[in-house]
């Protein structure tokens, strides 16, 4: 066909373009009930009823907003009933609501071309009866494709034959019976090199005979570009004309005839400009409408396309997973030109992949923006347009009411590179969930749960603001902070918006969270850590206020010092090694308030000296160990002598109520049944000495039974060289009820008590000497063993080695100075924090010198000469670090308002923020875990609408250890 004639034809049809489309749609609608047995069953979607509320909904439906912020989709029986903003849409009370505040929801993508089935292996060049739906496995698991967001696909019988058969449209989720949308959606015609030179047809005869000869293989068209139109025209002519009498029955021709007469939709696949033009003229010449698929060179014939009104499924040629192969010097090799797709303006456009793959469709489509397509065009080209072309727009391709609830949940903008599909709903049922991960630990994808927080400003530390930044939290810890961080596929994306201010979680520098009013002093061997189980309502209240860490201590401090514990205010069930106790012992606290300043030194010295002595044993051990290791390395170790015990048999003593061997039976107490043993006792004056002979196991420990006989009563103790420290001293007591018979009790004083009964079996005396070995100080190989741990003195040891600070509650300047003199000068303690320190300004010079810091009293406003001043402001100006305390349990929730007031009273907002976060963390030396937004620290973030200490700022969200708690 010559060009001018073609254009004339096209122009003639251009006027009628919309009309032809309408007819096309009508043909689809008409063909539907006739041809699709299964479609009618698919139409009866029988799914769940639910509502999904999401941050953004993109319905891609005519008559609905392009984007609905904070919208709701109401799904009844698996079908969408209503879509609208959460503020105006009424959800019936009995409908369960799934709330996905960070999600973007859009219709499932419709892939208008796929390689899911086919090509078939039939050899006929014109083979209308091959139906792609026959090869579709209804029961297969398509989660791998759903994960890419594709919920509806066109199945193609192939690109390898001139007429390769009938396509189909199917859903990839939902029950098998509802998966086929159209079992015959089109008659597929392909133009171009791929259909040239089909194989020769051989007819196999079942009974060859002289009358029934084997015919030579029959050659088929086309082998040239011209031949393809000839073959098509021939086939259509043959099919549509009545069969000649005597001619063989031709089933393929009959099928073609049926489809052609029924005006079955035509799908013409072509890439090169000449084939596209040829296709358009073929359609025009036959008075048919249809759509084109392929179109690598469509931009070159954009005008013809536009004029014909023929829609195009443009297939993107993109190699994401591996670079494409070489095309070499072949000048005819296809080089898709995506640079000027903007030329296709006005052509109804759908997008698919040229190789029919589905996994990267959304990413490939996103790149089409380079070629000049608008975001809206691209999204429509992946949803509503292909749905309309395939004749299934009444059921899929948009979130319009009445469609099947096939929708995808994304964690960001649909065309952003870092966006991933989080969930897929098919007919309202969850068909894919990114959180369902492999169970084998080796096969785990990204970390447990990744969270990416984006915001206008990220406060990394004092005066270190990151504009338009992102934070990646994995497994509860900050992994990366920067302008653009990695976004793992399963990540939850929290977009706080350009105005948001993201600060680290606040630290309450002294509070009593979890004590529930118990105001007893806490001995130094006890930590508060066991109090903190799973988060309760009070914790949650504090956490919601942005206070993510509390340094908790008792209301009153023990004379020997009390422990403070740093704890998170949100503690999920333990999942990993990470503990929500930031520090079991964050500080050791003393109280010197109200004491005679002269006695302060004494009261502090007592525990500190004990601690010092304890520390020395450790230092000695460390020194010995170092020496031993040095010797060992040099090979100079001396052999170790083992302690010996001796036993000497002795002569017999007569008329002695005690001396001899006794059987002993212990009953009662915690013992389920009596235990028998034997003891050997000696009497010297009134003193009894002895040892256990049986049971043998018990004699393995070095022990000695001692006692005093007064009249018939015996009281005594047992010395045992036990491998563990006994909680109470062992004792025994009894009475000689008759000769050779003692009844009494034994046990651990105040803990266990059992009844014992002894009977003498002989009067032989056994002399023995017991070598009481002290607790072993060396191991088997002579290695020095560590001294026993004294929990009472451990905090002091940590303090003296400057691992933790001393928190001293002091008020007056005299107290402060005295404390500094003792702790800093005498004991060389480097980290001193004063609690309250109301008169700190008077001792400021000394405090600055000793690098002491102050936890401000709850009442921060002080007055001097009736002139009010804010202590925090005052101390910061004087160069003394400060932190804020709640001195309360869930009262810690008001800490941010205390900060606001500090700003009001002259402190800089930045200084307050520092005092609330990294300042407090440094004070307690917990800045390795909390206090700022840096890699390695806990993922504790508070998202404000502005600077935290602007009066107008509101807390939007609180994230603790990567989990959203508000």
């Amino acid at each position: 066909m010559s060009r001018p004639r073609l254009f004339a034809t096209l122009l003639g049809r251009a006027d009628n373009a919309s009309g032809s489309l309408a007819r096309f749609a009508a043909a689809c609608a008409f063909a539907l009930p006739l041809l699709l047995g299964l479609a009618s069953t698919a139409a009866r979607a029988d799914g769940p009823t639910l509502a999904i509320r999401a941050g953004r909904i993109m319905p891609v439906a005519p008559g609905l907003d392009w984007v609905i912020e904070d919208g709701v989709i109401l799904i009844v029986d698996g079908r969408i009933v209503e879509v609208g903003p959460a503020s105006s849409l009424q959800i019936p009370a009995d409908v369960p609501v799934t709330h996905l505040p960070d999600a973007t929801i859009m219709p499932g993508l419709v892939a208008a071309s796929s390689n899911l089935v086919g090509p078939h292996r039939g050899e006929a060049s014109i083979s209308a009866d091959y139906r792609a739906v026959d090869s579709f496995d209804l029961y297969d698991d398509y989660r791998a494709v759903l994960a890419a967001g594709v919920t509806t696909v066109h199945l193609s019988p192939g690109w390898h034959r001139l007429v390769s058969g009938q396509g189909a449209v199917v859903r990839l989720g939902g029950p098998a019976s509802q998966r086929v949308l159209r079992d015959s959606s089109d008659l597929t015609i392909t133009l171009g090199e791929s259909v040239f030179n089909p194989p020769n047809l051989v007819e196999y005869l079942t009974k060859p005979s002289p009358d029934n000869a084997i015919e030579p293989a029959q050659r088929q068209r086309p082998s040239t570009r011209l031949g393809q139109y000839l073959a098509l025209r021939e086939a259509i002519a043959a099919a549509t004309s009545p069969r000649a009498p005597g001619a063989d029955f031709d089933y393929q021709a009959e099928t073609l005839d049926r489809l052609w007469n029924a005006k079955h939709p035509l799908r013409v696949q072509a890439h090169l400009a000449q084939d596209i033009v040829g296709a358009l003229s073929f359609l025009a010449a036959n008075g048919r409408s249809g759509y084109l698929v392929g179109g690598f060179e469509s931009a070159d014939v954009a005008n013809e396309l536009r004029l014909s009104g023929t829609p195009l499924v443009y297939t993107i040629d993109a190699a994401f997973r591996a670079p494409g192969g070489n095309v070499g010097s072949d000048p005819d090799a296809l080089v898709p030109d995506v640079e000027d797709l903007s030329a296709l303006e006005g052509v109804r456009l759908a997008l698919a992949m040229s190789d029919g793959s589905l996994g990267d469709l959304r990413l490939a489509a996103a790149t089409a923006r380079r070629a000049g397509l608008s975001e809206r065009t691209i999204i429509e080209a992946l949803t509503i347009v292909p749905a309309e072309l395939l004749g299934v727009a009444d059921r899929v391709g948009s979130l319009a009411p009445g469609t099947v609830a096939d929708l995808i949940v994304l964690n960001g903008d649909p065309l952003a590179t870092t966006t991933h599909v989080q969930r897929v709903y098919a007919g309202g049922r969850l068909a894919y969930d990114i959180d369902v991960r492999p169970e084998e630990p080796g096969a785990r994808l990204a970390a447990e749960r990744s969270v990416v927080v984006r915001g206008g400003t990220i406060w990394r530390g004092p005066n270190d603001w990151l504009e338009d930044g992102q934070v990646l939290i994995e497994d509860g810890r900050i992994v990366s902070v920067g302008k653009r961080v990695p976004v793992p596929a399963g990540a939850q994306l929290i977009d706080a918006g350009p105005d948001a201010f993201i600060a680290p979680g606040f630290i309450d520098a002294f509070g009593h969270l979890g004590l529930e009013g118990d105001n007893g002093a806490l001995a130094p061997n006890l930590s508060l850590a066991p109090l903190y189980g799973v988060t309760d309502v009070m914790d949650h209240r504090v956490a919601s206020a942005g206070v993510t860490t509390v340094v908790a201590g008792p209301y009153r401090f023990h004379g020997r010092g009390s422990r403070l514990t740093a704890v998170k205010t949100f503690r999920p069930l333990p999942r990993s090694e990470r503990s929500e106790i930031v520090r079991d012992t964050a500080a050791v606290a003393f109280d010197v308030r109200g004491n005679d300043p002269k006695s302060i030194a004494n009261s502090l010295k007592q525990p500190l000296d004990a601690g010092k002595k304890y520390l020395d044993t450790w230092l000695k051990y460390e020194k010995d160990l170092a020496e031993w290791e040095k010797k060992k390395a040099e090979g100079k170790l001396e052999p170790v002598e083992k302690p010996k015990t001796e036993e000497v048999a002795e002569q017999k003593v007569e008329d002695d109520p005690i001396t001899g061997t006794w059987t002993v039976r212990a009953t009662g107490g915690p013992m389920p049944e009596p235990v028998d043993g034997k003891v050997s006792l000696n009497l010297k004056g009134t003193q009894i000495e002895g040892r256990l002979v049986e049971p043998v196991e018990a004699t393995e420990f070095n022990h000695k039974i001692t006692g005093t006989l007064s009249g018939k009563k015996i009281t005594g103790t047992v010395e045992i060289d036990a491998p563990v420290d006994l909680p109470a001293p062992p004792f025994w007591e009894g009475e000689i009820v008759e000769p050779d018979h003692i009844k009494g009790t034994a046990g651990l004083r105040g803990i266990i008590q059992v009844d014992i009964e002894l009977r003498r079996v002989d009067k032989e005396s056994t002399q023995f000497s017991v070598t009481r070995t002290r607790r072993k100080t060396t191991g088997e190989d002579g290695r020095p063993l560590p001294p026993p741990v004294d929990e009472n003195l451990e905090p002091i040891r940590a303090l003296l080695t400057n691992r933790i600070p001393a928190l001293v509650s002091a008020g007056t300047s005299r107290e402060i100075e005295e404390v500094l003199a003792v702790l800093a000068d005498q004991y060389k303690i480097e980290h001193i924090v004063f609690l309250g320190a109301e008169e700190a300004r008077l001792a400021a010079e000394k405090m600055k010198e000793k690098k002491a810091s102050v936890v401000l009293p709850p009442e921060v406003l002080r007055a001097e000469k009736r002139q009010p001043y804010h202590q925090g402001d005052d101390l910061v100006r004087r160069g003394i670090p400060v932190a804020f305390q709640s001195n309360a349990e869930d009262g810690a929730r008001t800490l941010p308002t205390v900060g606001l007031y500090a700003v009001n009273r002259g402190m800089s907002a930045e200084a307050v923020l520092e005092a609330m976060t990294i300042g407090a963390a440094r004070m307690y030396r917990i800045d390795d875990r909390v206090g700022s937004i840096e890699p390695g620290k806990d993922g504790d973030l508070v998202i404000f609408t502005g600077h935290p200490f602007d009066a107008a700022s509101r807390i939007e969200r609180v994230i603790i250890s990567g989990e959203e708690v508000r």
Binding site: D140, D141, A176, R437, E439
Partner: protein, 498 residues
């Protein structure tokens, strides 16, 4: 003299036949007119188990079953006390009696398995030894429309002698044959049946013309009416080979034996059978994952043959978790009639029908259902339910006699009666005897090898110490003396005759 001579000659020829295939205990002679098997526990399958019952066989048919059955004075009485008698097992489908599993032509309904059956295949002998008395020989799955099947006994020297019922079922496969894809497979079905219609109309019209021309009349009606009239006149002989059996299938004369290899094949199979009118005569042979379409199978309600491996194992594509499904449980839950087949590919016990049934029982399927699945159900599917598959008066005397409960793996087949003839007797099974003897020899060889190795070890072990003085005589003696005694014991019974 002459007839007698001829009779002797005949007997000699029969004897020679038997001798030439000595391994197979073939039908020796006409059965005794009346046999009474007494004292056994009888599992009739058709009803509750009977203790100490008598089965009376007259001319190859069962005439009475029960404890109170009267034994005619002229019956040959066989004491079966302590034995368990079951209906002969039925293998619901097998190509293993054929020389090759499949034909190369995709559509070959004119074929009959009888032409490719080889009665001398060891498979038949093994089947008999395993207690199988009826085998449905049918071609394998690599086909679109295959040939006719045949139910046979595992005895006899020719396919016709073996036949129980010829031309039973027509094989079809929805799952694509080798080298085909599903689109081609289904297109071939559509084309074949469409072409059949076309062909029938053509010959119907011709037939009508012919019938009129016999009376010297001309066709007086339109072609449609002529076809309509002609179709009524058509007989099997009017069809050519390619179409005859398809026509019989559509008429309901043949059973449609359809391979439904995967879940996605169920809907097309049902559609095909419904469209062409043979749905009521359809049996589905299932593949491993076909049970996933249990909803559609249940709705169809047709009997099914279960795959050889009764477990379906599948790895979850995302979590990597392996799910195992016991297929009979799903089928039984859906209330479908099913038959089990042995798994010849398994070197394990799945080779035995009784084991497959026991496996079902172990997974909660009632014993009665499991027993029916290896006997009566297959008979019903072949349309032979009135003749085979249970021990009832009137049925063919196909019996398998076990020395214990058939589902107990310690039991074995003692004797098999087919048509009232003693077709197999374990005590007269030279091949089994040889096999067990060889097994004993192998065991002895293994034991000798083990001992040699042990001795070599002992000799090398104390070489490093001072007392390396070996004491070979004392140590090896007791070992040598025990081994023959140990090996001698299991030779006969321990191997298990099955």
């Amino acid at each position: 003299m002459k007839p007698m001579f001829r009779g002797l000659l005949g007997a000699a020829i029969v004897a020679a036949g038997i001798l030439s295939a000595p391994a197979r205990p073939a039908r020796a002679a006409e059965p005794p007119a009346k046999i009474a098997l007494t004292g056994a526990r009888v599992i009739p399958v058709a009803g509750p188990d009977l203790e100490g019952a008598t089965i009376l066989i007259e001319h190859g048919r069962i005439t009475a079953v029960g404890a109170d059955a009267k034994i005619p004075f002229d019956a040959m009485e066989i004491d079966c006390t302590g034995k368990v008698i079951m209906p002969g097992l039925i293998e619901p489908q097998s190509w293993r009696g054929l020389d090759v599993p499949n034909e190369t032509l995709p559509v070959a309904p004119f074929l009959d398995v009888a032409d490719a059956m080889d009665p001398s295949r060891l498979y038949f002998e093994d089947a008999l030894r395993d207690g199988i008395t009826t085998i449905h020989v049918i071609q394998a799955d690599s086909t679109v429309i295959g040939g006719l099947s045949r139910a046979v006994r595992p005895i006899g020297l020719t396919p016709d002698e073996m036949a129980v019922a010829a031309g039973l079922a027509l094989k079809m496969s929805i799952s694509p044959r080798g080298g085909y894809d599903r689109m081609q497979q289904m297109a071939t079905f559509r084309e074949t049946f469409r072409e059949l219609d076309e062909y029938t109309e053509t010959i119907a019209e011709q037939k009508y013309e012919e019938s009129l021309s016999k009376e010297n009349k001309k066709v007086d009606v339109g072609p449609a009416e002529a076809r309509q009239r002609g179709r009524k006149l058509l007989t099997d002989a009017d069809h050519d080979d390619q179409h005859r059996n398809l026509m019989r299938l559509k008429r309901g004369d043949l059973i449609a034996w359809i391979n439904v290899g995967s879940a996605m094949d169920v809907a097309p199979a049902v559609q095909l059978a419904t469209e062409h009118g043979f749905f009521e005569k359809t049996v589905f042979a299932l593949g491993s994952d076909t049970f996933k379409a249990i909803g559609e199978l249940k709705k169809a309600g047709r009997p099914v043959i279960l795959p050889e491996d009764l477990f379906h194992r599948e790895r979850d594509s995302v979590t990597g978790e392996i799910r195992e499904t016991f297929i009979p449980a799903k089928i039984h839950e859906a209330g479908l009639m099913f038959a089990l087949q042995p798994n010849p590919n398994s070197s394990m016990a799945e080779r035995y029908l009784t084991y497959q049934a026991a496996l079902c029982v172990r997974h909660g399927i009632p014993r009665q259902t499991a027993l029916e699945a290896i006997t009566l159900n297959a008979a019903k599917m072949m349309g032979l339910g009135d003749r085979l598959g249970s021990i009832e008066a009137g049925k063919v005397a196909n019996l398998t006699i076990y020395n214990g409960d058939p589902l107990d793996f310690n039991s074995w087949v003692e004797q098999v009666y087919i048509d009232g003839i003693l077709a197999y007797d374990r005590s007269d099974d030279p091949r089994l005897e040889e096999l067990l003897r060889l097994e004993g020899v192998a065991k002895e060889a293994d034991e000798a090898k083990r001992q040699a190795a042990e001795e070599a070890k002992k000799e090398s072990a104390p070489a490093d110490g001072q007392n390396a003085e070996p004491k070979p005589t004392e140590e090896s003696k007791p070992a040598e003396s025990t081994s023959p005694a140990e090996n001698a014991r299991p030779r006969r019974g321990g191997g298990g005759g099955r």
